[in-house]
Symmetry: C3
Subunit: 416 residues, 3 copies
């Protein structure tokens, strides 16, 4: 009887843990709608269908390729070359143990796959916004497919799959580097290969190209914040009450402080309380806390959020000055604040210390080097074969008509 109690109690705990992980999966899924609405809101109305199309198909491509190859690359049974690469074969499938706590006490094999698949797809979605309004749809789809299926899981394995960065002591709780900076580097190389939108930088001046539907952007940011409950909270990998609830608190306080930091910065520096900057501040705080959300006190998470909120405002301004044209600020949010958040693990909280800071820098640099070089090769090959950018004429009339022969708002008069 005792033995039966032990089993039943463990089964109950497994069921609770798995339930939370499934809900976290659903929340990370919702981030795709968050990215879709955020990015759509921040582009011009004539490119609405195009960005919606990209962000609608990415989760689909992400999940299917994760089932075929990504999950196997990221969590291989064993890895080679000192933890640089591993592969467990194509496809997914489970034996009976996969749905018990002998697979993992926190989740079933199926939950694991789906949670990780939702994560993988977010990396590609980050790129989508930065390259918006001038990239060819087919080129973007080719890039994204390889990016989500191959590049993201390889670098992910380095830490979360037990690879060499994990052995070195690099820490990245929920992916400031593994997800956000990976997406951010891919976005940066994409923007460099593409060049800026026509009319953005002319005769030494910067011409703002405002977003077309700001309520959509706000919807996106709120959904992303909500999704981060699953993104960070699910990265506990169980429903542990103390740890998950701490993570939700640090995550939400960092988001809040990021909003306040960006509001105050933009109000002081730009003389206006800038909504887009404040929204980016929320995201900056979220990305900034992600690497160490389980390590920080409330106070530290507020400080991290505030700094991230300040950083993102200046990052957006500086990227514009150096003519890196990122319509939605994705590189500032995900790359710059991803780097900051990763370093913050060595500066604040339980693991703070010079040695840890060094480990963090190593992780940032090796992953950065790999993603920059591999995506540059990809963008180069794509540019030389199918081409990377729509024609100048198509850019003028918009990608909605050019790529999709469809309008997002056909009954409304546009400003000519």
């Amino acid at each position: 009887m005792d033995n039966q109690f032990t089993t039943e109690i463990a089964n109950n705990l497994f069921t609770i843990n798995n339930l939370w992980m499934m809900i976290a999966t659903a929340l990370v899924f919702l981030m795709h709608l968050g990215f879709a609405t955020l990015e759509t809101g921040l582009v011009q109305s004539k490119n609405t269908i195009n960005i919606l199309f990209k962000n609608s198909i990415i989760p689909a491509i992400g999940l299917v390729t994760h089932a075929i190859i990504g999950f196997s690359l990221m969590y291989p049974a064993e890895s080679y070359l000192g933890g640089i690469i591993g592969f467990s074969g194509f496809g997914i499938g489970t034996d009976a143990a996969g749905v018990t706590d002998s697979y993992n006490i926190g989740y079933t094999y199926w939950t694991d796959f789906l949670f990780q698949g939702m994560f993988a797809a977010t990396a590609a979605t980050i790129v989508s916004g930065a390259v918006a309004e001038r990239i060819k749809l087919s080129s973007f789809l080719i890039f994204s497919t390889f990016f989500v299926a191959i590049i993201y899981p390889i670098t992910g394995m380095w830490k979360w799959g037990g690879g060499f960065l994990d052995n070195l002591g690099f820490y990245d709780f929920a992916g400031s580097t593994l997800v956000h900076s990976v997406g951010g580097w891919g976005a940066l190389t994409g923007v460099i290969f593409l060049g800026p939108r026509i009319g953005k930088y002319m005769k030494g001046r910067i011409y703002p190209i405002p977003g077309h539907n700001i309520p959509l952007a706000v919807i996106g940011v709120f959904l992303l914040w909500l999704g981060w409950f699953g993104f960070n909270g699910g990265s506990v990998l169980s429903a542990d009450p103390g740890l998950v609830s701490l993570v939700l608190v640090t995550t939400s306080l960092a988001a809040s402080a990021g909003a306040i930091g960006a509001m105050v910065t933009s109000w002081s520096y730009l003389k206006k309380p800038d909504l887009t900057m404040t929204l980016n501040g929320i995201l900056a705080g979220l990305v900034g806390i992600t690497a160490g959300a389980d390590l920080m006190s409330p106070l530290s998470s507020i400080i991290i959020g505030l700094i991230a909120g300040v950083i993102v405002v200046f990052a957006v301004i500086i990227f514009d000055r150096i003519k890196i044209d990122d319509p939605v600020g994705a590189i500032s949010v995900h790359l710059i604040c991803g780097i900051f958040g990763t370093l913050a693990v060595g500066i604040f909280g339980e693991k703070a210390g010079l040695e840890q800071l060094f480990h963090q820098a190593v992780g940032i640099l090796t992953i950065g080097a790999f993603v920059v070089s591999s995506t540059s090769v990809m963008w180069f090959v794509i540019k030389k074969t199918v081409g990377i950018r729509v024609s100048q004429e198509e850019e003028y009339i918009g990608l909605d008509i050019g790529e999709h022969a469809m309008e997002a708002y056909p009954y409304f008069e546009k400003v000519s």
Copy 2:
């Protein structure tokens, strides 16, 4: 002491199961917002208030009528006439056992009622989009009230309430037939009784009438996908880790494959990557997997999704050719893919086999026959009494002004 442990362990499991079912209920509730935004995005701007009104009031009518009569018709204590009809009396109410696992190990009586009520209302919401832009509001409300309160629970009882189809071996895990095809048949008869919108088919040509706000449609599809986590995942009727997580995987892979199938089909056949078709592909995959989401391997669910994604594109095209005017593609998605998904149980997965395929066909046909005949009577009676269609003039100026004396976007210039 042992006995106390047994009880407490069982209570904990009951609490976990019920928690998941309540969350699944919330997710199915969110599908109503998904339908509202999807259908709104796909109609003309002048009919926005009208469709929002319908989709806002349907859940309300659905829940109240489910409390008064629907729940009792669908899950009667016993049924008569060989399992064709049953009724446990008007109203809901519970004794003390209803909140313990002696009612059901997966949920309380209250959770059961609310989960089922949310399901019931979705059937009516499916009809809403197909008959949009020309149906009289009062007629639609009369139809929907009877549809959700009487017709849906009667056919639902045939399988889920232990009726004759359940005894015959018909299988429908989460409602490809019981929910989606039921809604789809109601939509089909409605469209036939109503006729097409003015200007849709003229002189042998088909004139496309595009949707007015495509970001809304994308929001809708994502919310529906999310809601399906509860729709299919909740249909496990407990938080069983292995089964629920498998269902979420098959559901998401089918949705993903549906998107890819519809994208490729529309890109090849229509020469453009069609966003609306791709969105319908997601829904097609979701409807297609619903009948057998608990029976399929990841590979089978991808195949089912792909096929559904191809089917839905051609279904939309064919319905247009035969002048069945369905502004949102609801009949293609819910009826055609609902039928396909139900048959797929006999073709793929654990229950595949000719005998099962026959059972599936019997279920499809009997339910189809009942819904077509009963809704035809309803539409006929409504047409002959209050009338079914708004005046030609009202259709031109739009139902927002005609039915509600209100505009959805009063500050924006419309294309004249």
Copy 3:
């Protein structure tokens, strides 16, 4: 061994309870997006950025101030002056016990803080809509900061923090008074100090100023309904299957009945099925059930919802007649229906009775008196120092340009 089982079983239950409370927290967070989209949809397009800004920054300010002072004011270790005020010191922090069931069997300290912080911020969001389209941003932010950090937690303590109203027998399950009427009183005094929008009341006539994007308003109402699953369901403070599921049923039936009540009332009285009124009916039902959601039968909750749905229509009409200009109907929904819902505890359900009705009236009046007087002082001081209202010119051109130098929809032609 027995002792170990006891502990593990209790730990499992604690984990389940805490999981539900974290999910409820996420749902209440989502209400902020609900308020943001609802209020945005109901204002003019030229004030879109401004209201989005306010509703985006309020949760941030709410959470940070709740961490600094609010949580400590609301749930002090002990209170003074007969339960009128208490304070446990600045900042939050926990010892090891805070993450075990020795803190509370339903949740950790972190979960408690975050759940309560999300609640606190909703009170300020209620004000936001009522004072929209003419309040200075800086003034609103000053008000909101004090309102959410000081006023809300003080009155909240009176009941939920064990203060004098709790001792008196006042009952308010989830905050018809403590949240909704508090927000509503703050909104009412704000509107009185501000005065109506220019052009709203002229020469004895009322000029309707319609909302600019009604789909956004519908999204808001659905998200609020969904969020209420966490607002009321989380107020059980555990995952108790019977009680939480009952609360979800009463909440949803009241919302549904509120919609029907408002639809029928507006259709009969205004001769048109008014969408905005019907949406307000949903919210009215939700606010109305909130004080007694755990005490009501399904039938009682339907009756409460119906009454609230009728009340809200006439409240909106009457406030307009007496020139209380509330662009979104917040005072009617949150104050009037909050009062009604609080009184309903003494009229319907388990606690019905004259004595309880008296307790309810005492709670309403003391809280109303405190909030009206304290917010009046605040509004007065703000008016005399930084000023409360934008210039007439800014009101004409809109607060988006005036306060933020930004447009929400720059590519769309506006009606001039």
